[in-house]
């Protein structure tokens, strides 16, 4: 028995070694590359965040920066970076408000348009579908640049269009429409502390954002069985009742992940804010990533910027864990 079982166990022992090594061989290329250009810089960045790394340390033979402990972190949080109008908590608060206000509008507008678009017997359905895909397929960064010029007070298409509409519909003088969308410092409404630039950004991002939500909602709408509406109609449910009792609950499983995705994207929407408002006026529309870029690109405070990026990482981690707890999206890790 022993003679028979010995080679068998050797066979078994050989196979697992090969089998256990294979997965790591497959992982090797990616993790070597990521180790060099991703994980090592990440660790280095955490070290940098505890130093006063600046322009003087940039040359290849420059001395090492001084260790400053938590000074960068504390200075960021208490707004002692020597930057005018900078406030960490304002940036974070605005970023969160910016994210939620956008996603709420994107999702509701997306569902509304999807419901209108998916009615049976609607004319020109195909043409609308083809047009509505355009904001998704045009590179977002180009759109941001185009809207930057569109919001120009003198030559932009927004003011010129409003002037034509105002004159023909309401008889208003075109000179009323020299709105300084980007750089007006006074708030348009005294009880909402948001500059006009915020509304310009919101308009642009709504233009960019709703079609994706409409596509997601359309897919979900088409999968709702028609019998449910038939049954509801027989039971005497009105159109609004049908929407809130059938359509809305059945859309939710599709819309929640899409909304979470939209939130992550909007929270880090660098391109739009950098190109449209540049974070202005007076840093009021600055979000976390645009501030970080300013710290590197303009201020050249690499140590401070590193600490700021660690803050971003921690904030995103908390947000991701929070949204995951809500959507239970983590379950698919094991799939």
């Amino acid at each position: 028995m022993a003679q028979i079982s010995l080679p068998q166990s050797r066979e078994k022992a050989k196979k697992p070694i090969w089998r256990t090594l294979t997965p790591y061989l497959y992982l090797l290329p990616a993790f070597i590359v990521m180790g060099i250009i991703t994980y090592y810089p990440m660790v280095y960045q955490v070290w940098m965040s505890f130093t006063d790394y600046g322009l003087k340390n940039l040359r290849w033979n420059a001395p090492l920066p001084n260790f400053v402990g938590l000074a960068n972190y504390i200075n960021i949080e208490t707004d002692q970076l020597g930057l005018s109008y900078f406030s960490f908590w304002h940036v974070l608060g605005f970023d969160l408000f910016w994210t939620f206000s956008n996603v709420i509008i994107h999702v509701s507008l997306g569902i509304l348009i999807a419901v209108i678009l998916n009615q049976q017997g609607l004319w020109l359905k195909g043409i609308y579908r083809a047009l509505y895909i355009l904001p998704i397929v045009i590179p977002q960064i180009i759109v941001a640049n185009i809207f930057r010029n569109m919001f120009d007070p003198d030559y932009g298409a927004i003011n010129q269009g409003l002037a034509i509409l105002g004159k023909s519909l309401l008889g208003l003088s075109p000179s009323l429409f020299h709105i300084h969308w980007i750089d007006q410092i006074d708030y348009p409404t005294s009880w909402i502390p948001l500059p006009l630039a915020y509304y310009a950004l919101l308009i642009t991002n709504v233009w960019l954002g709703w079609p994706f939500m409409t596509i997601v909602a359309s897919g979900a709408l088409q999968s709702i069985p028609k019998d449910l509406y038939e049954a509801a109609k027989i039971d005497g449910a009105s159109g609004t009742q049908q929407f809130w009792r059938i359509t809305f609950p059945l859309l939710r499983p599709a819309m929640v992940p899409a909304a979470v995705y939209g939130m992550v994207v909007t929270f880090n929407l660098f391109n739009l804010i950098y190109f449209l408002s540049g974070g202005g006026p007076l840093r009021e529309t600055e979000i976390l990533v645009t501030t970080a870029y300013d710290l590197i690109n303009q201020q050249r405070l690499y140590g401070v910027a590193a600490a700021f990026c660690v803050y971003i990482f921690v904030i995103l981690l908390i947000l991701t864990l929070a949204t995951n707890a809500v959507t239970r999206a983590t379950e698919s890790y094991d799939a």
Partner: protein, 321 residues
């Protein structure tokens, strides 16, 4: 008695059948009034969608050769068309002494090589994550996801100072890696690779495992099962992942703007940034419009054809990661 029973059953079937037919054909449709209201709303939405596009297109063909559009012009054919703006930017888009061809070549090189590198290096890892079971799988997947979650700007401080310390000597020329397209490529790849791994893993998860198992039974080794069965089947996702990487790098701005100083290395978006907003004082907007279209058109056309493969997929699977 049996006759009437039969009749009622037939009636019943007919009723079911007619309801089905009516709902399927959709002839029951909408009342005229709700049709008109819906059309009005959808036309309004369509108008907001094409308004910026018409504006930019007609500005780029504007025959008047003026620096700023003094009146709203949405019809590109109104008063004739001119290709002068395109001819001007092809020669030299900005004050920097580079042609559009050079800028496009730089962006194209950068986008193609980083896109290719991300799928070639990434596909093996995504296969391992999708198919193989091993110790530390969860931890390594979270390590990839953690990077994926991070915006690319948040890695720039370290990438900038680290790449800045590397000097490369080739023959008589010495160059700083940070101040080159090579350095930008490394920085871009650092963000692209985790995305590529995750995107391809999501697709590999949907390829039936039975296909590989059948290959194994037929005598394939696990490696040749990967190369002969799984890899050919995943060509669509390789192409899509490459294209997404290509598109994001084609319009890449943050890294190249921070890293590059030599106009000969500049990318398309850097040139466009010089034509908008605070830097645009001397640039005619028709040039800006033509430049935007030249950058956007190639990727937009491709995206238009491939978007249905992943816009829906993004909604279903992409987010769960």
């Amino acid at each position: 008695m049996p006759n009437t029973e039969k009749q009622s059953i037939l009636d019943h079937i007919r009723r079911i059948f007619t309801i089905r037919r009516l709902t399927k054909s959709g002839e029951r449709g909408m009342s005229l009034i709700s049709q008109l209201i819906s059309q009005l709303l959808l036309l309004l939405v369509a108008a907001t969608v094409i308004y910026p596009i018409l504006w930019v297109v007609s500005m780029s063909f504007d025959p008047r050769d003026i620096s700023r559009p003094t009146e709203l012009r949405l019809n590109p054919f109104q008063g004739g068309m001119s290709l002068k703006a395109y001819a001007d930017i092809i020669k030299q888009p900005t004050a920097n002494p580079v042609s559009l061809g050079q800028l496009m070549f730089n962006s194209f090189r950068l986008a193609t090589l980083t896109g290719l590198a991300s799928i070639i290096v990434g596909v093996f890892a995504s296969y391992a994550f999708s198919r193989l079971r091993f110790k530390g799988r969860q931890v390594l997947m979270i390590a990839v996801l953690a990077v994926l979650m991070l915006p690319s700007v948040a890695m720039l401080p370290a990438l900038f100072v680290l790449l800045n310390k590397i000097q490369i000597n080739i023959g008589h020329t010495t160059f700083n890696v940070r101040d080159s397209l090579l350095g930008v490529g490394f920085a871009v790849l650092s963000g692209l690779l985790p995305f590529a791994i995750w995107n391809m893993k999501g697709y590999l998860d949907t390829i039936p495992r039975e296909l590989e198992e059948a290959a194994l039974i037929d005598g394939c080794t696990p490696n040749s099962a990967f190369f002969r069965v799984t890899l050919p089947l995943s060509t669509p996702v390789l192409a899509v992942t490459f294209f997404l990487g290509f598109m994001s790098t084609w319009t890449e701005f943050t890294t190249s703007w921070l890293f590059l100083t030599n106009p000969k290395d500049f990318t398309l978006m850097m040139a466009l940034y010089n034509m908008v907003g605070q830097y645009s004082d001397s640039t005619p907007w028709s040039h800006f419009a033509a430049m935007s279209i030249m950058i956007a058109l190639p990727v937009t056309i491709v995206y238009l054809f491939v978007q249905r493969y992943f816009v829906a997929g993004l909604a279903i699977g992409g987010v769960k990661g």
